[in-house]
């Protein structure tokens, strides 16, 4: 066996293409006589569509296809089919597609789209989640009861609730009564946008034989194919989806997005390629955003600082459609207690339709939002009780033998959040008796997440050899930066003792040729595709050894693989892969074996549905990844500006596969968390329903100048029992605790708390002023109300 490959800094296998400019993304592909799409979008947040007149637009020069709701009435959506390709009878957010035009140039398409006349009857809109949840609220989806839905999502017909997951564990009411002290707080998270550097783009053609072909910037080629086939009533075999390199997704390109609009138009101009590319402005409100959250938490503790009763009421602002968002609601439900053991729980996670932009998956899938609430709540309770916040967390956190909110008892293979807490507390200098500097503070927060996916979500790989024994690995997991292609090469290299240079991972899938994969989401690829890689490698090894055994006339079980050769240790004889991969030829000319290839898959085993009433389940998810972050901040008392000086992060990842790449994931997650935690919010005007900051000028994301001066990252390696070499997911977790850690540090720095994300300079300044007034005896301390108009 050569030196280990897993655990080393193997350079990205897709790096060379990316640094040279060779890597092709969807918009880089050239298509003959490409048509360009402009979408007619609703200017109303909520309205009836009375009529769509396209005749004038259709007659305009260069227009080749037009489509609207009446042409394509079928519903789509990954879990809840609540959306049509174009709005039919009703629009539900500003930007809701009503019709689309394909024309010879983008300019002609835009001119024609402007001539599509839509007659609307405005309806009362809902923007606030509590308003939408209230009895008698105007209904966003009056037909909710008739939509097709997977059995484990529970929409409530006649309301705006698109899913409701209840957790009932122990006896919450009794435990609350018996509590020594009780704390209740409300926390809020606004809608934010993913802001991938590459905006969404999809290209489609329907050929004269009726076969649909799509190239798309997407995280889920097979889900796109599956939903397109459903939506247009086609056999899956007649739909082909290609995904080239993807310029960031963060969940925003999961499921299905622009593809149905491009296909609908392509059906109207068979043989022509049609491209729909949203611009940065549309990207902010017309693709998808992260759901908003209002969280109400009640915590009852005993005299020993142990939480006995915990109530969590999560109201999710899902926006106009919930096809994907309903599963965030579910995931936040069965993870509602975060990284803690709560013996008595009343948890409700409720998704509510409103007339805001559509909420969907976003890195962390609900977890950053609920941790914003939970981790501040734990901090407040610790401070009130006079217990060190790190100690309080250690006292209450999950670990082996402890039970989650669903009653799942963790075993010794689950991650160690306690070690992560101790690690970051030490790295940031979080000692109870530390020296204090005014307006400088430290905060800590934990994180946990499981892959939120159907129980049968599978991944598969195909391995085959080229004539020179280069191993080619086909996957359909998307490497949109997280490093999947490199990790797959490392695993295969390790399993077959073949140098990484002899491996080519084919990471841009084509559903006609590539193996099935459910989706690239949920931090599941290293684990799921990784497991499939080891299974396929084992099959490859078996085939190589069988042929070599016959060739060398030795028992197959005595053979090993070493540096690209099959070796018989006892005799010292060996055969290079090159002489085996296309079949072995004996000196007399006769040949055996044949081209060596293998296909294998991985499907998580033993997952059980949640009880419909209590959500108790012994194994609701495949795995948990735990971690913690601690931050040190400084606050400018004059402006309220918070500067994050240092961040320490630690996660129990089971196995570090590639230190350089996992550090990159962590730095990236921290900075993205710093963005949502301190600067990002998609502001929707509550008069018009329009997003008022839909540009990179007005919606700021972190730049080089916002990055903390110091980021320290570390990892714990408690092997995941069913993980490849013990590895578990990490991609999303890195941004979960950052905002809460910053908010907790703010309290430590200057004694104010901000319960509504993000922690902006304005909010901090107002809170400091309110605190000053309170100290002078002029009012109540704490958070100042946010001025009207700032937050919709």
């Amino acid at each position: 066996m050569s030196a280990p490959v897993v655990g080393t800094d193997v350079p990205r296998v897709d790096g060379l293409e990316k640094v040279t400019g060779a890597a092709k993304y969807t918009a880089d592909l050239k298509f003959p006589r490409l048509l360009h799409v402009a979408v007619v979008r609703s200017p109303h947040p909520h309205a009836r569509v009375l009529d769509v007149k396209t005749e004038k637009a259709a007659r305009m020069p260069g227009v080749r296809a037009l489509a609207s709701g009446r042409d394509f009435p079928l519903h789509t959506g990954i879990y809840l089919k609540d959306q049509t390709v174009f709005a039919t009878d009703r629009v539900r957010f500003v930007g809701d597609p009503v019709a689309a035009v394909a024309a010879e140039t983008p300019e002609l398409a835009a001119e024609a789209a402007a001539q599509v006349h839509v007659e609307y009857e405005p309806l009362p809109p809902i923007f606030d989640v509590e308003e939408g949840f209230a009895e008698g609220a105007p209904l966003v989806h009056p037909d909710l009861g008739s939509y097709e839905v997977v059995p484990w999502i529970r929409p409530k017909a006649g309301t705006n609730v698109c899913n409701h997951l209840k957790i009932r564990k122990g006896d919450y009411a009794a435990a609350l009564k018996g509590s020594w002290k009780v704390f209740e707080n409300v926390f809020r998270v606004p809608q934010v946008q993913h802001v991938p550097m590459e905006p969404h783009v999809s290209v489609a053609r329907v050929d004269l034989a009726g076969k649909v072909e799509v190239h798309s910037s997407a995280q889920s080629p097979f889900t796109v194919r599956h939903l397109l086939a459903h939506c247009f009533g086609l056999p899956h075999g007649d739909v082909r989806v290609h995904v080239p390199y993807v310029g960031g997704g963060f969940g925003g390109k999961a499921g299905i997005n622009l593809e149905p609009i491009a296909v609908a138009l392509a059906m109207r101009c068979r043989g022509r390629w049609v491209r729909l590319m949203v611009d940065r402005h549309e990207e902010f409100f017309a693709t998808v955003v992260r759901q908003g959250l209002t969280a109400t938490l009640v915590t009852g503790v005993d005299r020993h600082g142990k939480v006995q009763a915990q109530k969590m009421h999560y109201l999710w602002n899902c926006g106009g459609y919930g096809g994907y968002g309903v599963n965030i609601v579910r995931s936040a439900g069965y993870t509602c207690g975060g990284a803690y053991e709560f013996p008595n729980v009343e948890g409700d996670s409720i998704g509510v339709y409103t007339n805001r932009p559509v909420g969907s998956a976003y890195r962390g899938f609900g977890m950053q939002e609920i941790h914003w609430a939970l981790e501040q709540q734990m901090d407040r309770v610790a401070v009130e009780l006079g217990i060190d916040p790190a100690e309080f967390r250690l006292k209450n956190c999950l670990g082996a033998g402890k039970s989650t909110v669903t009653g799942q008892v963790l075993d010794e293979h689950a991650g160690r959040v306690d070690l992560c807490i101790r690690n970051v507390a030490k790295a940031i200098g979080f000692d109870a008796d530390r020296e204090r500097t005014p307006y400088r503070g430290k905060g800590i927060a934990c994180a946990v997440k499981a892959p939120a996916m159907p129980n049968d979500a599978a991944s598969s790989v195909i391995m085959k050899f080229a004539e020179d024994a280069t191993l080619e690995i086909l996957i359909s997991g998307i490497d949109y930066g997280q490093g999947l292609m490199t990790v797959v090469a490392q695993f295969a290299s390790e399993a077959l003792d073949l140098p990484v240079e002899k491996i080519r991972v084919k990471g841009c899938p084509d559903t006609d040729l590539s193996p099935y994969d459910w989706q690239t989401v949920a931090s599941r690829q290293t684990w799921a595709t990784g497991n499939a890689v080891f299974r396929a490698a084992s099959e490859i090894r078996g085939k190589l050894c069988a042929t070599a055994a016959e060739a060398l006339d030795v028992p197959a079980e005595e053979l090993t693989l070493r540096e690209g050769c099959v070796v018989h240790e006892a005799t010292g004889r060996s055969l290079p892969f090159e002489r085996l991969v296309m079949g072995y030829q004996f000196p007399d000319g006769h040949a055996i074996g044949g081209p060596v290839a293998a296909a294998s898959s991985y499907l998580p085993e033993g997952l059980l549905f949640l009880d419909p009433e209590t959500s108790q389940s012994a194994k609701p998810v495949a795995k948990w990844t735990f971690g913690a972050q601690a931050v040190e901040i400084s606050v400018d008392p004059e402006t309220g500006q918070v500067t994050v000086e240092k961040v320490a992060a630690c996660y129990d990842v089971g196995k570090v596969v590639n230190p350089a790449l996992i550090k990159g994931q962590t730095y990236g997650g921290i900075v993205q968390g710093l963005g949502t935690g301190t600067m990002e919010e998609l502001v929707v005007d509550t008069k018009t329903g329009r997003a008022t900051n839909a540009s990179l000028m007005d919606y700021k994301i972190p730049s080089t100048e916002d990055v903390p001066a110091e980021m320290v990252v570390d990892f714990v390696e408690t092997a995941q029992k069913d993980g490849p070499m013990g590895a578990r997911g990490i991609g999303e977790h890195t941004m979960i605790p950052t905002p809460a850690a910053i908010a907790n540090a703010l309290w430590d720095a200057c004694g104010v708390r901000i319960s509504e994300m993000p922690v902006t300079a304005e909010k901090v300044w107002r809170a400091l002023k309110a605190k000053e007034r309170a100290e002078r005896g002029e009012g109540v301390a704490g958070e100042a109300p946010v001025p009207a108009g700032t937050i919709a």
């Binding site: 990205r12 790096g15 040279t20 918009a27 611009d279 990159g664 990236g668 540009s695 990055v707």
Partner: protein, 175 residues
Amino acid sequence: MKKTITLEVNGVAESAEVEVGQTLLRFLRDGLDLTGTKEGCNEGECGSCMVLLDGRPVNSCLVLAVEADGRTVTTVEGLSKEGVLHPLQKAFLSQAAVQCGFCTPGMVVSAAALLRENPTPTEDDVRKALAGNLCRCTGYKQIVDAVRDAAAAMRAGAEAGSDAGKPAEREEVPA
């Protein structure tokens, strides 16, 4: 209205008839198929489309193709020469400074402009120079490290009496 422009792109003389309203970004991508230069916002905010115009970094979405008439343009494709990488490209690989890769061409081009002006940038200098290049994946740390690494490599190359930027000193790109 169309106009004929003549310019040098990555060392090659090009002549083309362009619409006067066409951006340099669109000309490079559609006219010359130099798709390494990316469109991220089309309003000069993200830096994904950065190229060098007469050696100075510009967002090519904010420059008209006709403005490049008679001038020289360098895109990411012009940084490597006949399969030999620029020290910045090497450093981006060795420092794991690339994730999705969409911002990478603009970053590398922007950094090349910095190193031309300032061969010994501090961490702060690098942060300031790249503040107009947005990246959503990396958290920037490994990018800043890579630029400083490349600067050191280029200085070392220059001290050794050769220009590290010269093809002979560059690493071969596998065919």
